[in-house]
Each structure stands twice: as structure tokens, then as C-alpha cells.
Point group: C2
Chain length 148, copies 2
DNA sequence: TCTATTTAGATGCAAATGCATACACAAGCC
DNA sequence: GGCTTGTGTATGCATTTGCATCTAAATAGA
């Protein structure tokens, strides 16, 4: 019980929760206000677009994102239903498939980006100097487990 | 559209999302592993305990937490059903009520704290020096809207 | 080759969330 | 007092999440 964290630790923890909650909320809000899909969709679109023609496997996508497997599986369902990605059989491995972005998906990603970018800038960029943002990123990096 | 955020901003944003997701996940995981209720319950217990004998109004609680109104309403339902808080009629204002912690609630809060504290320390405290934690808290503070 | 184990992914079900709206009382105005 | 507007809280319904489990295919071992 003498593990009681230092005051600075507790404050950092509390503010980490609060800052991300507000930042995320305002970004999601901006997307919704613009009639666009939620943030998670953007990440999938970005990763699948980066992956090129062939697309990528769900488990690869899972690693790149902060989503549980079952969660991703259903997100892909929805996005496929919306026509932004498609599932293709995977020759190498009959268990899985490849997820590839469609033209509509590319269009949507381009449509989302300006809104997303502006929202990030409002939530983070405009509130910190370049130096502060760099420091913040650096410190937050310490809290992230590198699986690499 | 030339609002494209600076690299440092984007990195800070991405890491903010990732760091809190991991930190929160590990804290929630620690609570669950110890057979304890989730984090949100702790916050309610803490605030109601601080509020003293009379308890406090849901809208006050709402301000102290990161919860939407309807969400809090149902959280209180669950916690009342579990016997940790109780709703009492409010004489001043017939619309609302007061939420007060019970003895069982106080016991539960005390049971949760060591686990919570250790988890915060593992997720944040041990990864940063005191100075770094203070800086992180300071920078995160810039991202938080002060309604005060 | 045949079996056991592991891995990729989906899915049924229960719980939690978000949204819109309903409801009840309070407060201000005439 | 009646009427309108505002505020505090609950709730029905659809969507999303979490958990546990299931299937199918790959891989390892005998």
C-alpha cells in the first residue's frame, strides 16, 4: 500500500484520462458534425490504403490499431457493408482473407482528412508550441509499450 | 486545408490516444483481475465519499467526472443496485435527488484503492521520473478545457 | 499420415453506450 | 394563479462493446 503514487504521477494519470477524453470527443464530434464516419473508420481506410492493391490481413490491421480482434472483425463488417473496403479470399492462408480499400473508400478517406486534420489541430496543435508538442509526444512515448 | 497539423502535433495526438488506451486498459485490467468493479465506480465512490453525509446531486457528480448525463444516471442505477450508493430524495429540488455513499461503498472504495494505486504507478509512475511526470501533467493541462 | 495444438477470424449473447426524447419540477413572465 | 421556458434526470431503442466460444485451417509431433 505504500505504493501510493507520487502526486505528480496521479496528476499525470488524471490529466491523461481527461485530455484524451476531451480531445477524442472533440475530434469525433467534428467528424460527426460533418456527417462523416467515426475515427476508427479513418484508421482502417488509412491502413488499407497504405497497404496497396492487395490489402492486408485483419491481424495486421489489428496490430496497427487499438482494437480488439472481435471488434475489428465487426468494424470491417460495417465498412464492407458501406462499400469502403472489401474482403477477398487469401490464397496463402485459407483461414483468413485480405481487406482491401475500394475506390469509394479512398474517396471517403480524402473527404475525412481535412476535417480530421483541423480537429487535431484545434485539440492539440493550437494549444501547444512546436517544442511543447514534441516534448509531450516524447513523454507519452514512455507510457507506450513497444511490442517491436 | 493547409491546416495540416505539424508532425509533432500529429505524433502527440497519436500517442495521446495510444498511451491513454494502454494505461486505461492496464488499470481496468488490474481491477478486473482483482475481482473489483471498473474504474468509473471508483470515481463515483470517491466523489460521494468526499461529498460527506448528505451526498451530492447527479449533476455535480457529472461535472466532476467524464461521463454523459444518461450514462451517469445508469451507472448510479447499477451502483445503487449493488448497494454502494443510495439515492435520497432532495428537499430543495423535487426534480432531483442526492446520491450518498453507503458503508459498503466506503469499504469497496478502500478495497479498490491499493489495486488502483499500484496500477497507476505501473502504468505511469514507474515509467517517468518525478520531473517528467510533472512536465507531462503540465503539458496535458494545456489540452484540457477549464470550465472554471 | 494421423492426431494434437495453435492461430485466424467470426459470432451469440449480455452489458454498456449514444441518441433522442419523455417526464417532472422549477423559475420567470403576464 | 396560469403559461412558457429552462433545468435535472430517466428511459426506449439502436448501436457498439466485451466476453466466451466456435469453426476452419495451418502447423507440429508421433
Amino acid at each position: 500500500m505504500s505504493d501510493r503514487p507520487a502526486e505528480a504521477t496521479i496528476q499525470a494519470w488524471a490529466r491523461l484520462m481527461k485530455a484524451q477524453s476531451q480531445a477524442l470527443g472533440s475530434v469525433e464530434g467534428a467528424l460527426k458534425a460533418a456527417g462523416l464516419p467515426p475515427l476508427g473508420w479513418y484508421d482502417v481506410l488509412l491502413e488499407t490504403e497504405r497497404a496497396g492493391r492487395d490489402g492486408l490481413r485483419p491481424f495486421e490491421l489489428e496490430r496497427a490499431m487499438l482494437l480488439a480482434q472481435y471488434n475489428l472483425s465487426r468494424l470491417v463488417d460495417r465498412m464492407a457493408a458501406a462499400g469502403y473496403v472489401e474482403r477477398r479470399p487469401c490464397v496463402d492462408d485459407g483461414r483468413g482473407h485480405l481487406i482491401a480499400i475500394t475506390d469509394a473508400g479512398r474517396v471517403m478517406r480524402r473527404r475525412m482528412w481535412p476535417v480530421y486534420a483541423r480537429a487535431i489541430d484545434a485539440a492539440v496543435g493550437r494549444r501547444l508550441s512546436a517544442r511543447q508538442a514534441a516534448t509531450l509526444g516524447e513523454l507519452l512515448g514512455h507510457l507506450i509499450d513497444e511490442p517491436s
